[in-house]
């Protein structure tokens, strides 16, 4: 959520009322913004020898782009408090009757296809409103415009340039101008090098750097207004004294482009000599059918059903009363002439967040006050509670392990590739583990395929604890599985590790026996089960029938100390499967996990017991 800092005294002046911090917090709470901080009583920075005035830091919901500046916050709160009506924005054509024009060249399709524009005439900025104007552009760039990828804004002193304008796309070398606040001319390529380490601009360079052509806006004298989305020209830069502001926006997302235009003019047209008037700009873009006049500030008319609104809110208000409530949220609604159940709702250009009548319904609820809404019973229907079977099974094993004197731990599910494979002397066959594309640290490279790394790391961090340490975990690992839609599946495992002066091999073996006994699985002895045969085809003879149960067989795997490891086999319903293994860890494994004492581990797949 973006946080906007506003001057406390100025805001209260705009609201026509002083608030205590608590009172203002309550107002914010009801409206759905959040007072993050009142800096009145905290240390404030000194700028140009003057201490900053007390600020209110207000968190704005991510979809309220119309409140990303002082002007928007003051306006919306005033409308909510029924102090001001929604402004009536108007488009005004200049006396000449001629609109400024931006002509779009088809080459812009290769890099940044859309452009929009608007003009604010006879603006009178103060230092505060000027700063707010600049800050709003920054906030829009960061949020709605996704760091200028979707939309980039350029503002210019119209009196320093002359239309008609062109929006073109040219090879970087052919674009030459003095960028904003620079002394010398550069071409597009040089600018890329120049701004490579710039603290503000470097992060935007990637948007066009490798494109064959860069977008550029020229005036009729071939003066460069801007090379979006990177930088404006120095020639047309605006200042406190600028009175006629030319705003151009370019982008890759047509919808957001127009939202940005609407928000900027809605917020700052109030400083025009004739407040809330906007001079439109004509865009000529024949090649993609985008020829039009911008901005389109006409309200969008949507419909809302009275019974839907009442029903969702648990209210039974009249259409007229709902219209009154909506006024507080700057929506102008009237009962429809066609149906008593329909409201015609006129949504101002700045409220781009309203997509569906559910958004209108929410505004009714906010205007009414969430905490004032009548409470109703939540029990409409009876439903049957039901645990997830694999969780129920897991809980049984967890309880049994804890009752046997083992402590449960909860390591992370993500781990490094080495921890999961190389450190356990296991090889990655490339078709087992799910790999992450963009982890911030090497600690998180894959989704674990075994619970062992987590157990061993937990022991490593607890070497001060008295020995033996006996820990266990029941949780999921994940495997690649290309047969499934999501190409992966989880598997519920149970694992335990013993760390002590002796190996604890028999203790871990005993834990296996105990847990399997509790899962009603019989142990098949060597004599019963193994006979002379090797491999998976065990004949377990009892009345010449294969009986269900488990047995273990010595294995030679590098994870374990030779001669002290076994695989665990289970036969359920005549089907047999290896469900895991236990053993004394190989000393090279201990070394990798920085463990000084012997460790025995056990890990089995629980899903076979479902």
């Amino acid at each position: 959520m973006p946080t906007i800092s506003v001057d406390k005294a100025e805001l209260y002046k705009a609201l026509g009322q002083e608030y205590t911090t608590d009172e203002f917090e309550t107002l914010c709470f009801e409206f759905g913004i959040e007072l993050d901080e009142d800096t009145s009583n905290s240390e404030r920075p000194i700028v140009n020898g003057k201490q900053e005035a007390p600020q209110l830091k207000i968190e704005i919901p991510a979809n309220r782009y119309d409140m990303l500046c002082f002007e928007g916050i003051a306006l919306m709160l005033n409308i909510f408090r029924e102090k001001t009506p929604m402004p009536n924005y108007r488009l005004v054509t200049p006396k000449s009757g001629e609109l400024e024009i931006i002509t779009v060249h088809p080459d812009t399709l290769k890099v940044r296809p859309y452009v929009s524009g608007s003009i604010l005439r006879n603006v009178k900025f103060t230092q505060e409103s000027y700063d707010s104007f600049i800050s709003l552009q920054d906030k829009l760039h960061q949020n709605l415009a996704r760091n200028r990828t979707l939309v980039a804004i350029g503002t210019h002193d119209l009196d320093t340039i002359k239309g008609p304008f062109t929006y073109e796309a040219l090879p970087p070398k052919d674009i030459v101008f003095t960028p904003l606040n620079q002394k010398k001319e550069m071409n597009g390529e040089e600018m890329m090098a120049h701004y490579e380490n710039d603290k503000h601009l470097a992060k935007f360079l990637h948007i066009i750097r490798d494109k064959p052509v860069y977008p550029v806006i020229y005036d009729s004298q071939r003066i460069v207004c801007s090379m979006p989305p990177i930088i404006n020209g120095d020639h047309s830069k605006i200042s406190l004294n600028t009175t006629n502001v030319f705003i151009e926006m370019t982008g890759t997302d047509r919808t957001k482009l127009e939202i940005v235009n609407n928000i900027i003019v809605a917020m700052f047209s109030q400083y025009c000599a004739e407040p809330f008037t906007i001079e439109p700009v004509k865009i000529i873009s024949e090649h993609n059918g985008e020829t039009r006049q911008t901005p389109d500030i006409s309200p969008r008319v949507a419909q809302a059903e009275v019974d839907y609104v009442n029903n969702c809110c648990g209210l039974s208000e009249t259409p007229e009363r709902i219209c009154e409530l909506l006024k507080k949220m700057c929506l102008t609604a009237t009962p429809s002439s066609s149906s008593k159940n329909i409201l015609d709702v006129s949504i101002p250009p700045s409220r781009a967040d309203v997509l569906h009548q559910c958004d209108i319904m929410e505004d009714v609820a906010i205007a009414y006050g969430f905490n004032n809404l009548p409470r109703t019973s939540p029990n409409k229907s009876s439903t049957i509670a039901q645990p997830l079977m694999v969780n129920k099974l897991g809980d049984i094993v967890r309880m049994e392990a804890a009752m046997a004197g083992w402590s449960e731990v909860m390591p992370l599910i993500l781990c490094s590739h080495d921890e999961n494979f190389a450190w356990l002397n296991r090889k990655d066959d490339g078709s087992t583990a799910v790999r992450l594309a963009n982890p911030k640290t090497a600690e998180y490279q894959i989704v674990r395929t075994s619970l062992l790394p987590g157990l061993l790391k937990t022991i490593r961090e607890n070497k001060k604890h008295s020995v033996p340490i006996k820990v266990f975990e029941v949780s999921d690992v994940a495997f690649k599985d290309v047969s499934l839609e999501r190409k992966s599946r989880n598997e519920r495992h149970f694992a335990a590790a013993w760390y002590g002066k002796t190996s604890g091999f028999e203790v871990v073996h005993g834990l296996l026996d105990r847990v399997l006994l509790m899962l009603k699985t019989a142990f098949l002895t060597h004599e019963e089960g193994l006979e002379d045969k090797k491999g998976l085809d065990y004949e377990v003879r009892q009345d010449h029938q294969k009986v269900d149960g488990y047995w273990i067989e010595e294995i030679d795997e590098e994870t374990f100390f030779q001669g002290h490891a076994a695989a665990i086999y289970l036969r359920v319903g005549g089907k047999q499967v290896r469900i895991g293994e236990f053993g004394i860890l190989h000393p090279t494994v201990l070394e990798k996990f920085e463990l000084r004492y012997p460790v025995s581990t056990l890990e089995i797949n629980l899903e076979v017991f479902l």
Partner: protein, 515 residues
């Protein structure tokens, strides 16, 4: 070789008893000077536990000579030794002769300077050194001798000075003053520590003396197993859901697709939550299949669903104008680690849409889950790349916001949280969205305890759920209430391998309703 004083401390108690029978009180420093105080204390405690003696401990600081000081006390200070050598040599000595006489270059070097300073010696003829007085007083040696004999010196300034000169160090000495106890005897009678089966069968319990039990110490360690605190809290939450008729969702699936984790929830493809900065994407395996049924009992219409989701984003549908951007299939088929369990709720609600209740409509349902989710966060004291989300979903006809708030009051009341306040909030897939706050007495302010809302029609109707079926959803993290409850400040000390095992072992049972 062992002498009498080095006798094993095993018979020290007997010696103490014997000494006490001859003299009372006794001071350990006088009677048993060569025993270590730890040995003495062990023996005395044994006797004291039988009330055979009582003793008090006397701490004293003693001055002890360092090695150099021992030599000075024995042979005199460096300057005195230089003087003495010169005094006996009538014609004086050259420096090398002096070194030969004294026998220690270092002593000559240091002593010569000091002796000059005290005017004890002077330069004679031909570079020889001669004594310039008949007798001197070797004060340092005298002071050290006093300390050697009495372990202290009447003038504390002198001790301080000698300490500074590193000739003397202070040592803490523990003595014991011992007197007879009420059960004093020369013989230690055998005391039984426990009642045994043997004593019962032999009848020895009737005559045996029993050692008093120490009621001031803890009982024996149980070597108990323990469940993890987070799972204990999870259990409580789970019970609350069961009490309220909820079915647990199959959240045993960490890998999701952009479709299920975001698109189906009406989260636009340019939403910041989908940034590489926030979401873990999967590099291997590469891409997902389009949604399809994976079990025989799944009768969901996945093809229409896919198309509906695309349309509602791109052009708008179900009365929504949509986000109006070109929706990309590739983005939807990217694999991600789920950022919320709502990806599973979505799949559950989509399945619900194809179910038919007694009236032919999808039946009301209540789902919950408590499971791990993943965010590509920079790790700090309150953020980990993994945490647990507690999530509940209620689907029913004619639900209203008042019902959602009432439900939340009941749900949180079960864990001892009262007086909720609801704040309007924004969430891409719920509208209205309500943040749930409660007043925290300890922090003296409203604290956010969860998020809730009604799922957007764009999400539900795309699944094929009827327009009048409304769905509440709410969520909170499992870690945050646990951290507040157990005053854990760093999430890494709760979840992950950096946990302290003693914390797990000693963490009390969770009783959420008792705050």
């Amino acid at each position: 070789m062992a002498n009498a004083q080095d006798a094993p401390s095993g018979d020290l108690p007997s010696k103490i008893l014997k000494a006490l029978s001859q003299q009372e009180p006794i001071l350990s420093a006088d009677t048993f000077p060569s025993y270590k105080s730890t040995e003495l204390k062990g023996a005395l405690d044994r006797l004291a536990s039988r009330s055979m003696v009582t003793y008090e401990t006397i701490d004293r600081e003693e001055a002890v000579l360092e090695a150099e000081a021992l030599e000075i006390a024995a042979n005199g200070s460096h300057e005195a030794r230089v003087f003495e050598a010169l005094r006996t040599a009538v014609a004086g000595l050259t420096v090398s002769e002096l070194e030969a006489v004294v026998g220690d270059k270092n002593v000559v070097k240091v002593g010569q300077g000091k002796a000059f300073k005290s005017k004890w010696i002077a330069k004679g003829k031909e570079g020889r050194l001669v004594a310039s007085t008949d007798s001197i007083q070797d004060t340092t040696r005298e002071q050290l001798k006093i300390i050697q004999e009495t372990q202290t010196h009447p003038d504390p300034k002198i001790i301080a000075d000698l300490k500074k000169r590193k000739l003397v160090k202070m040592q803490k000495i523990i003595h014991f003053k011992i007197v007879k106890g009420p059960k004093f005897a020369l013989e230690i009678t055998k005391e039984e520590t426990d009642l045994t089966a043997d004593m019962l069968s032999s009848g020895a319990w009737k005559t045996a003396a029993f050692k008093p039990y120490n009621f001031k110490s803890l009982g024996a360690d149980q070597n108990a197993g323990a469940l993890h605190p987070l799972n204990k809290v999870r259990h409580e939450f789970r019970q609350i859901f069961f009490e309220m008729g909820f079915e647990e969702m199959p959240t045993n699936r960490y890998v999701e697709t952009g479709f299920w984790n975001f698109d189906a929830l009406f989260v636009p493809q340019q939403h910041p939550a989908r940034d590489l900065q926030d979401t873990f994407y999967i590099s291997d395996p590469k891409t997902a299949d389009k949604p399809h049924a994976e079990s025989e009992d799944d009768r969901g219409d996945y093809e229409s669903y896919w198309k509906n989701v695309q349309e509602v984003h791109q052009e708008g549908k179900y009365g929504s104008i949509g986000y109006r951007y070109p929706w990309a299939e590739d983005e939807s088929l990217r694999l991600v680690l789920r950022t919320h369990t709502t990806a599973i709720s979505t799949a559950m609600l989509h399945k619900l849409a194809s179910k038919k209740g007694p009236d032919g409509r999808p039946p009301p349902a209540r789902y919950f889950s408590i499971d791990r989710v993943f965010r590509n966060e920079t790790v700090d004291a309150t953020h980990l790349a993994e945490f647990h989300q507690v999530e509940g979903v209620i689907a029913d006809y004619g639900l209203s916001l008042g019902g959602l708030m009432e439900f939340m009051e009941i749900f949180f009341h079960k864990m001892g949280i009262e007086d909720l306040r609801f704040k309007p909030a924004y969430n891409p897939y719920t509208e209205p969205s309500m943040e749930i706050f409660s007043f925290h007495k300890g922090l003296d302010k409203l604290v956010e305890i969860g998020n809730s809302g009604m799922f957007r029609p764009e999400m539900l109707e795309a699944m094929g759920l009827p327009k009048d079926m409304r769905v509440f959803g709410w969520g909170l993290s499992l870690e945050r209430p646990t951290m507040i409850k157990y005053k854990v400040n760093n999430i890494r000390e709760l979840l992950g391998h950096k946990v302290d095992l003693s914390f797990i072992e000693r963490n009390p049972a969770v009783r959420l309703e008792k705050s």
